[in-house]
Symmetry: C2
Subunit: 314 residues, 2 copies
């Protein structure tokens, strides 16, 4: 039902995003026993796929809505993406961030022209601050992952990947708030040839894995993971799409995440976030099931703190 | 005098190397005030430009010479490059390495099919071990940088860059043993339109800077640099080419190297060696002279030890 929308969305956001390169590595193919194609959204504008969804969500607003600006609360890439997308389109973005968010993320928001509002580091405080801006200024609230326009935007990464590699048997993506994996599932369904979608998730934040088992949106009981982009939970907009379109979610340990991240950095020679490595780690964990197949992997982002790398953890 | 050779060399080595991508970054352009084009030899086979020269040097050998194999002493990328090039062409490569060389480099040599011979960590011991293999086995000794076939091979990186960006006003490359900068100077001279070549060198190993001043090949008095690929000195084959074709060499501090490396990792999202960052650091140091120009930068390699990164040094 969203096929035409995805085509239209992709056409509309093209002037604002990069068609990112797809990399491969002979040695990684040998390690996994499959032909791997890495869709490098770390090379996307502002360094992550979130630029796609943020751009589309803003482009969908009316002229009146745009005049009032947009607001979100996020401690991650969506904050920077919304700031840059708003700047590119010429509107205001109000970004609520917890006061303990990484300095590099705060600087990113300001650097991309976002208006930074700091709040205490609780979900309640974040929601209150965002609501306040919505009510007083009239800015439209945009959710980082539980919004169909955001989901469709994120899906354009897999759409581009399938345009370059139409015979993929599978695509792996990390699962955080669910926007990327839901968009990927839609794109694989519409533009792939029997292309299945798999999610990678840390054991420490396995809400999506448990949600698919129970049929209800579950919360995380722990969140002690280095994949800090994946600590968020699914929402009512993306969960049904994930239930319908994702084959299964594979959980990985923190050590497996770091090992996969090291492979990406050492072999592909690219800088990626630990969250991206979760997708490769999931594939490696069940590589026997993918022997000889063509597999796409979404490298979701590359915004890392170089002073705080995990390579010496294990 | 080498123009036809460079064209022929490039043609011959093409099946064995990648035409590596050229990346750019709006933000880095803004920081420097010029249009920058990064030739990403970190994406080259085995992770560095050395693959080009090693391949060409082997292809130049006679059938009889090839049957006896090749030998070199190197603690760096040339060892791995010669191993992989020899494996691709189907001959033996004997690699003499100091016993204290990084484990990752030793594993690289073995992984690429090279025959590793360890020796005490002195230049004398290295030369003796290599000579022994030359004399007893009859293998041809190949020098990592002071060999015209190696120099021509390295020059193909700049040739490719100029084919993609023919209007470059300048190309920056790091200066170690002199093979890359000499090859770059030849390519810029033959295939550029008034394209000047600049070398970047750490103050700690500024032998090339001093050699150009004095007119004689100078040695390094210190070598306490994180750019460990640049500790070698110029040779009689590459020095005259550098004297003729390199505009000047710009020296940088260790802090400037780390800052430039951070910019490359954070902004281009690629993994590169500290040696590569020396070229960007040199450009940044004298950026006023390059305002508004189109500047190429050779990212020479991406083989780094992720457990030993310099970002926390300053």
């Amino acid at each position: 039902m969203y096929k035409e929308n995805l085509i239209e969305v992709h056409q509309k956001i093209k002037p604002y995003i990069h068609n990112t390169p797809v990399l491969s590595s002979k040695l990684l193919n040998e390690i996994v026993g499959a032909k791997l194609y890495f869709k490098c959204e770390n090379f996307q504008k502002m360094g992550a796929f979130k630029m796609r969804g943020a751009t589309n969500a803003i482009l969908k607003l009316s002229k009146f809505q745009r005049s009032k600006g947009v607001v979100t609360h996020s401690s991650g890439n969506f904050a920077q993406a919304l700031s840059l997308a708003a700047q590119s389109i010429g509107i205001k973005a109000y970004i609520v961030m917890p006061s303990n968010a990484a300095k590099i993320k705060k600087e990113g928001v300001i650097g991309y022209g976002g208006i930074l509002i700091e709040c205490p580091p609780t979900l309640k405080a974040r929601e209150a601050a965002a609501n306040n801006i919505k009510d007083t200024i009239g800015a439209t609230f945009l959710h980082p992952s539980n919004d169909i326009d955001v989901i469709l935007g994120q899906g354009t990464a897999a759409k581009e990947l399938l345009e370059e590699q139409p015979n993929l048997d599978a695509i792996f993506a990390p699962v955080g708030g669910g926007g990327l994996i839901a968009g990927t599932a839609l794109a694989a369904n519409y533009f792939g040839e029997n292309c299945k979608v798999y999610g990678g998730e840390p054991f420490e934040v396995d809400d999506a894995y448990r949600s698919l088992k129970s049929g209800f949106i579950e919360s995380n009981k722990t969140n002690n993971t280095i994949a800090d982009g994946l600590k968020t939970q699914l929402g009512d907009k993306n969960f049904p799409i994930i239930q319908e379109g994702v084959d299964r979610i594979i959980r990985v340990t923190e050590k497996e995440i770091v090992e996969a991240m090291r492979l990406i950095w050492e072999r592909l020679k690219i800088v990626c976030e630990s969250s991206c490595a979760v997708a490769l780690a999931a594939l490696i964990k069940e590589k026997e099931s993918f022997y000889g197949l063509e597999v796409g992997i979404i490298i979701s982002g590359g915004n890392v703190d170089l002073n705080n790398l995990p390579f010496d953890l294990f």
